[in-house]
Amino acid sequence: MNEPLLSIIILAPLAGALILGLFGKRMGERAISFVACLTVGISAALSFYVFFRHLHALEEGARIHDYLFTWINVGGFRADFALLLDSLSGIYILFVTFVAFWIHVFATGYMKGEAGYWRFFAYLNLFMFAMLTLVLADNFLLMFVGWEGVGLCSYLLIGYYFRKDFANDAAKKAFIVNRIGDFGFALGLLLLFLKSGSIFYFDDASRGIHGAFEWAASQAADPTTLSVIFAGGITTIAVLMFVGATGKSAQIPLFVWLPDAMAGPTPVSALIHAATMVTAGVYMVSRASFVYVKAPTAMAIVAIIGAATALFAATIGIAQWDIKKVLAYSTVSQLGYMFLACGVGAFTAGIFHVFTHAFFKALLFLGSGSVIIGLHHEQDMSRMGGLRKYMPWTFRTMAVGWLAIAGVPLLSGFFSKDEILYRTFTSSVLDPTLGKILWFVGAATALLTAIYMTRLMVLTFWGDERFDTHGSHSHDSHGHGDHHAPKESPVSMVLPLVVLAAGAIFAGYLGVPEALSGGRIQNFFEHLLHPAIAEPVAQGETAHAAEGHGTELALTAISTVIAFLGIWVGWSWFKRTPLWKPPRLLEEKYYVDEAYDAAIINPVKATSTGLLWKIIDVRIIDGAVNGAARLAALFGTGLRYVQSGLARSYVAIVIMGAVLVIGYFMLG
C-alpha cells in the first residue's frame, strides 16, 4: 500500500527548520513561534489522520510505504529514501508528534525573551525532522541518518547557551559519548548487511527488495553461550546494535551524557532527553526484534544492562539536589525498564512504557521548567519548598506525573510498569532464576522511583519556603526583578501541562493488561503491535496460558503495594527532614565520571599530548614535511649556478640536449 502523506509528515518540520534557519533572524517572536508550532502541528495532525485512516490495515499487519527515490544502488547494495508505516512506527509518530507539539507550545512561553529565539526553534524543528525520519525509515541506513540527525540536534540544543562553558562541555560530552555508541551501531549494520545482503527491514515485492528480517527469521537461533557474542553471527549483530542503543538511550556504560545534557533549556530536556530521542534505542531494539529473538544471549545482555541501569540510576536520583538532575536520572532509570522489557522478550511492554513515559516524563520536565521560571531560574531543590500555593496548576499537573511514574493504580505508569514486571517474572526467554532476580531488581527500582519522586515533590511544593524572596540574586537584569514571590506561569506553559497530564492519566488505558479486566477488554496495544514484533522463542516450558491470571494479579498487587509504600516512605522521610544529607557516594554519582576520567580520558589526553602531538606530529610528520622542503632547497642551491643569465648559454644547453637525445636514438 502507498501513502504519499507520510513524506509530508517528515518534510513539514524540515520546511519549518529551513524557514526559521534562513529568515528567522529577521522575524518577530510571534511569527517564529507560529511557524514552529504550525509545522509540527501539521505533522501531528497528519500522523493522527494517517494512523487512524489505516488503523484497520495496521492491526492486520499491513505495511504502508511512501517511496520517494532510490538513494544508493551500487552492486548488491541498495538503500531507498522510503518511509514505512506499520503499527510500531505508527505508535511512535503519534506520541512523538503529539508530545512534541505541546512542548513546542510550552517553549514559546518558556523561551520568551531569550537571545536566539529563532535559532532554538529552528533546531527544534530540525530535530523533529530527524526524529520522524528515524522512526519512519524503511531501512536501517535511513534510520541511521535520522539517528545521527537527532544526535546532532541534541548537541546543538544542549549547547544552546553556547556562551557558558558548562553547556559547551555537556554538548561535546553528549556528542562524543553518542559517537561511541553509534560506532557499534554502524558496525552492527555492516555485519547485518554482510550476512543478510540487505539493510531493508522487510521484503517488498513491488520494489524487488528482500528484507533483513526475513533473512533473520529464516536463521536458526544462536545457542545461549558467551562465546557466540564474538562469533560474528546474529548474536554479534544484536550485541553491536545494542551498543548503539546504550549510547542513544543512556544505558550503562554510556549513560553519563544524559544528566549533563540538562544544561540545555528545559523544553529540550523534556522533548529530546526524556520523551523522544532517548527512546530511539528502544525503538531500534524493538524494530530489530526479529534479529534479537534469534540471539538469546544478546537478549539476556539487554535485560541485565537494562535492569542494572534502572536500579543504578534510581539510587543516584534519590541523592540529587538539582530538580532536573533528579528527572534526568529518573529518565535513565525508566529507560532501563524499557530495555529490561525488550530483553525478556516483551517488546510490546517496552514500547508501551515508552509511550506512557513520554507523557508523564515530558509533563514532569515541563512542570520543573515552570517551577524554574517561577523561581527566576532556580534549579536547586534545597532552595524551593512550599510552592503549592504559588503555582497551583503546575503543582496539580506535576502531582499527576508524580503519581503516574510512581505507579499508582489506574494512572498510565502503573499499567506499563506492571506489565514489564509481570513479563520479567514469567519470562520464558531467560533462565527462570535470572528472570526472578531481574524482577526483584525491577521491583526495588519501582520502590526507589516512588521514593525519589516523592522527595522531589515534597522538596518543591511542600514544607518551608526556602527560596529567597528578596531577589538578591543577580536576576534583576532580566527585567522581572520586581516580582519577589514566585508566580504561576503564563497560559502557554500551563495549557501543555494540563494536556500532558490528561495524557499521563489516560494513555495507559490503551494497554490494560488482560488479567486486570478479567480478559474482558482486549489489550489493544499488544494486539496492535503484534504484527510488527517478532515472537520470542521460549527456552523453557513456561507458557503464558498455563500460568493463568493468578500470578499476574498477585504481581499487580505487589506493584501497587510497592508504589504506595514508596510514596509513604518518601512522604514521612522528607516531610520531616527535607534537607536530609544523602551519602556522599550517591551524591557524587558513584564517582563514575571521575572513574572515566582516570581510566579513559586522562590516558587518552596524555597519549595525545605526549606521544601523538609531541613525538608523532612534531617530530615525524612535521619532520617529514620540513625535510622535504629542505631537500628541495638543497637541490635548488646547487642548480642555480646553471642560471648564468646568458641567453647563448641556454641555447647551448638546448642544443646539447637535442644532440644527446638524437644521438641516443640513432646509436641505440
Partner: protein, 100 residues
C-alpha cells in the same frame, strides 16, 4: 622530379644556419628570425616527407607549426619591444638580471 634527399638536405642546411644563428648572434631580432628559420626548415622536411609517403599528416602538422609560430611571433615581438623600451638595447647578453 627532385629527389627527397635534396629537400631533406636543404631542410638540414636551413636548420643548421638557424641553430648557429641563435647560438652566435646577440641581437634579439636576429635570434628571433633564426628561430623562425629553424621552424620553417622543419616545415620543409614535413611537407617533403608527407608528399613522399603520400600521408596527409605531415601537411597538417605544418599548419599547426605555422599557427604556433604566428602566435609565438606576436608574443615574442611584444617581449622584444618591451625589453627595448626598458634597456635601449637589444643585446641579449645584457638582459641578464635573472643571473645570480
Amino acid at each position: 622530379m627532385v629527389p627527397l634527399s635534396w629537400y631533406l638536405g636543404l631542410s638540414a642546411l636551413l636548420f643548421t644556419i638557424g641553430a648557429v644563428g641563435v647560438f652566435i648572434k646577440r641581437n634579439a631580432i636576429t635570434i628571433f628570425l633564426c628561430i623562425e628559420l629553424m621552424l620553417n626548415a622543419v616545415n620543409l622536411a614535413f611537407v617533403a616527407l608527407s608528399s613522399y609517403f603520400g600521408d596527409m599528416g605531415g601537411q597538417l602538422f605544418v599548419f599547426i607549426v605555422m599557427t604556433v609560430a604566428a602566435a609565438e611571433a606576436a608574443v615574442g615581438l611584444a617581449i622584444i619591444i618591451s625589453i627595448f623600451r626598458n634597456r635601449e638595447s637589444l643585446n641579449v647578453d645584457e638582459a641578464d638580471s635573472l643571473k645570480l
